[in-house]
């Protein structure tokens, strides 16, 4: 029997690749390591090999063929040492959408139970504890006490709900983001609420692992929870949560959720434009790192720049077109699979910022923040890394 996830209709794109190699040029992982296994095409070739033997030409001619162990052995370090940043898809001229194929490939590998041990752990953690860190989900809101957030509403009904991602909830370096966002929402006296300990992981990590079934379950739970509280606008500060809830939930649950999804920067910019938030320009050199899930894959590119230009007279781009920057290395579970590779990728990004004289390197995603901090530490570079929500809370004198 052919493994789950190899439907021909879905994978027709795989056979459309003409090997022109354009997807290889901007791959951030390969740029940092120059190890050919990190390139996109070796992934698609292995995937095609599996496809041809189980559903494609070989299977049609000779019946379904077993997949050799060496294929899996080679697939793990190429498929999972990838940040799923989507730069290959951005470069592809033939509608192959390579990075979506990597999701499909991970789905197949999960169905065959060939995923790396670290990802197995995360998969089971999400399934059992509803967050990838294996923490008791009842402690999801504990950061509120640690950081001393005074007003932390968990209401039955509210217009706005703040979806605090698992990383902002459980990782101390990212908890400041949730804290800052809550301070901003409080200071504006908005009708808002946390979702509390009933909130589950957004499901993005499950899809990255290839566990589509769990992703569906999480999506359904979260949508029901959010809708039961009459929420009109869901605010998120994690780029992964943002894209998965906004772009993937509809397909996962089979209907359009009844609420609007906004990243923190979109909400803040809207309030700035309505005159409800006033920003003051200062002179620091600020550079903005686009989270892949938010910019390249999520389409939010101008909003953070508009905010940062109102905060600093010295805003600089890190090179390349806005929204098409190099990945920080923080995506696709690369940290769990091979942290050394992630650190190399992160160092490249931090190095680019340093080269342009950036003093404060700003991002809008907890994974990016962690990666950039680790990268600067590894490279021994002196610059500040902040999330845009933290920077805003500081500039608004809320911290």
């Amino acid at each position: 029997m052919a493994p789950d996830g190899l439907e021909k209709e879905k994978l027709g794109r795989l056979l459309k690749c003409v090997s022109c190699g354009k997807c290889l040029v901007e791959c951030p992982v390969y740029s940092a390591t120059k190890e050919t296994r990190h390139l996109p095409l070796p992934k698609s070739r292995l995937f095609r090999h599996i496809f041809e033997r189980t559903r494609g030409k070989v299977a049609r001619l000779k019946g379904v063929q077993p997949i050799e162990e060496y294929v899996f052995k080679r697939a793990v370090p190429t498929l999972y040492e990838c940040t799923l940043c989507g730069s290959c898809t951005e470069q592809c001229k033939f509608e192959v959408k390579p990075h979506e194929l990597w999701y499909d490939f991970r789905h197949v590998m999960n169905a065959l139970n060939k995923i790396p041990p670290a990802l197995k752990e995360a998969r089971e953690a999400i399934k059992n504890d509803y967050n990838p860190y294996g923490m008791n989900n009842e402690t999801r809101m504990d950061w509120v006490d640690y950081l001393g957030l005074e007003e932390a509403p968990v209401k039955e009904k509210a217009k706005i709900a703040y979806f605090v991602g698992c990383t902002e909830s459980f990782k101390s370096v990212a908890q400041d983001m949730a804290y800052s966002t809550a301070l901003i929402l409080n200071s504006l006296k908005l009708d808002w609420t946390f979702l509390g300990v009933e909130q589950w992981c957004c499901g993005g990590p499950s899809l990255m692992i290839g566990d589509v079934g769990t992703a569906k379950k999480l999506a359904e739970h979260n949508v029901n929870l959010i809708e039961s509280r009459n929420v009109e606008v869901l605010v998120v500060t994690c780029a992964t949560c943002y894209r998965f809830i906004k772009r993937e939930y509809e397909e996962l649950i089979g209907r359009k959720p009844k609420f609007k999804v906004m990243h923190g920067v979109e909400l803040v910019l809207k309030l700035v434009e309505e005159g409800k938030i006033k920003l003051k320009q200062e002179g620091e050199v600020i550079g903005y790192h686009d989270p892949c899930e938010l910019a390249r894959l999520g389409g939010v590119i101008e909003e953070p720049r508009k905010i940062l230009m109102q905060l600093s007279t010295n805003y600089v781009e890190l090179g390349g077109d806005p929204g098409k920057g190099t990945c920080c290395g923080g995506g696709g579970f690369l940290q769990a699979t091979n942290n050394e590779v992630r650190l190399k990728v992160a160092q490249v990004r931090v190095g680019q910022a340093k080269q342009r004289g950036v003093e404060v390197l700003v991002s809008a995603c907890p994974s990016c923040k962690m990666s950039l901090i680790d990268g600067k530490r590894e490279a021994g570079l002196n610059l500040q890394v902040k999330d845009i929500m933290e920077l805003l809370a500081e500039k608004l004198n809320l911290i």
Partner: protein
């Protein structure tokens, strides 16, 4: 398998378009059960072609054998995927361009292809466009097949073929059972099937075709003469351009080390390339620190080592399909290098890759008398 050359032909009268006329033959192959399967270039909705496996005659209309394009994979490689592990149990016909049929022959010599139950239906080829150019042509609304034919007939269409095609001297597959020829005959509304082997003859007899003796080469000979001169000039220029380490380093300066030229090369069939293996890379921490913003830096010699190493591995059997050049994301004119080195080594050994299954590659055979000036 011994190939007996028979110069018999079958004339197919026009059935509308050129593709329809050729496809009427392919249709009969499946309908009359002469073959069970066909591996052929099939058109997709965007106008590109991809190799597909067909078994129902109803699907034949999707085949486009003349599309001047090799999309990403030499079909010799596709045949290897299908027959490498075990021979075919049912008859499969594969429709191949000259350089694809040559790749098949070389791969068979290295036991990467089993020719049992395999029928090669060759297609005459005057040249193919770079896949990016082909795509542009489609977007601009022009028809690449017509452009190619027009250029062949009166230099009217677009002659911007890939560089390896412009100097190719084998417009007809040297190894095949039947060749589909149309370049010289289609202006008179005919497609000519050249029968090359007994198996080929059997095949067309099953379809009820009558094979007659006929020679059809006139125009091609002139064109080949022209090409021969172009080929000499091309390699003479390449030799000048690539002479010496400095010039080679300059030539490969843009290379990002992606090894895509190796990945698409039909002769590079190794399961794991030495240059991708753990034995190859060496750590250059110091350089890495200095050049942090660009990431890891490839030193010029490392790029050169890969390309020279690769040509040493595959140069004997290079069948000059030029896919290495099409696959280079940095658009380095790689055929100049790989074609030149292969051409010279093949001349040294008087080896003709892809022409005959019985001609052994130089690395499979020792001849005592050769290179006396070196070993003597």
């Amino acid at each position: 398998m011994l190939i007996k050359t028979i110069t018999k032909t079958v004339i197919l009268k026009s059935r509308g378009s050129l593709t329809e006329t050729i496809n009427s033959f392919l249709y009969l192959l499946l309908e009359k059960n002469a073959l069970k399967w066909l591996l052929a270039p099939v058109k997709d909705e965007s106008g590109l072609v991809h190799p597909e496996l067909l078994s129902r005659e109803d699907d034949i209309s999707r085949i486009n054998t003349i599309a001047p394009l090799i999309p990403g994979e030499n079909m010799g490689t596709t045949v290897s995927l299908l027959t490498r592990e075990s021979p075919l149990k049912e008859k499969l016909g594969v429709i191949l361009r000259p350089c694809e049929s040559k790749a098949l022959v070389e791969l068979a010599k290295y036991r990467q292809i089993s020719t049992e139950n395999l029928y090669v239906i060759g297609v005459e080829c005057y040249g193919t466009y770079h896949v990016l150019k082909y795509r542009e042509m489609l977007e601009e609304g022009s028809n690449p097949s017509e452009e190619m034919l027009k250029f062949f007939l009166d230099r009217g269409g677009d002659g911007g073929f890939r560089s390896s095609c412009l100097v190719c001297l084998t417009p007809k597959p040297p190894y095949s059972d039947v060749n589909i020829c149309y370049l010289t005959s289609w202006s008179a509304g005919e497609v000519v099937l050249e029968i090359k082997t007994d198996r080929g003859l059997e095949l067309v007899k099953k379809l009820g075709y009558e094979a007659k003796r006929k020679a059809t080469e006139g125009l091609l000979r002139e064109i080949l003469e022209e090409r021969r001169k172009e080929r000499e000039k091309f390699f003479a220029d390449a030799k000048k351009e690539l002479n010496g380490v400095d010039k080679l380093n300059e030539f490969f300066e843009e290379c990002i080390g992606c090894h895509n030229c190796m990945e698409v090369c039909p002769i590079c069939f190794c399961k794991e390339c030495f240059f991708d293996s753990e034995r190859y890379p060496y750590v250059t921490r110091k350089y890495l620190k200095w050049r942090l913003p660009e990431g890891t830096v490839l030193l010029p010699n490392s790029k050169l080592q890969f390309h020279i190493g690769r040509t040493i591995h595959m140069g004997f059997s290079c069948i000059h399909c030029g896919l290495c050049e099409q696959a280079c994301p940095k658009e380095i004119p790689l055929y100049k290098f790989f074609g030149l080195t292969a051409e010279r080594v093949q001349k040294l050994f008087n080896y003709h890759p892809g022409e005959n299954l019985d001609e052994k590659p130089p690395i499979q055979e020792f001849r005592e008398e050769e290179f006396q000036e070196v070993v003597g």
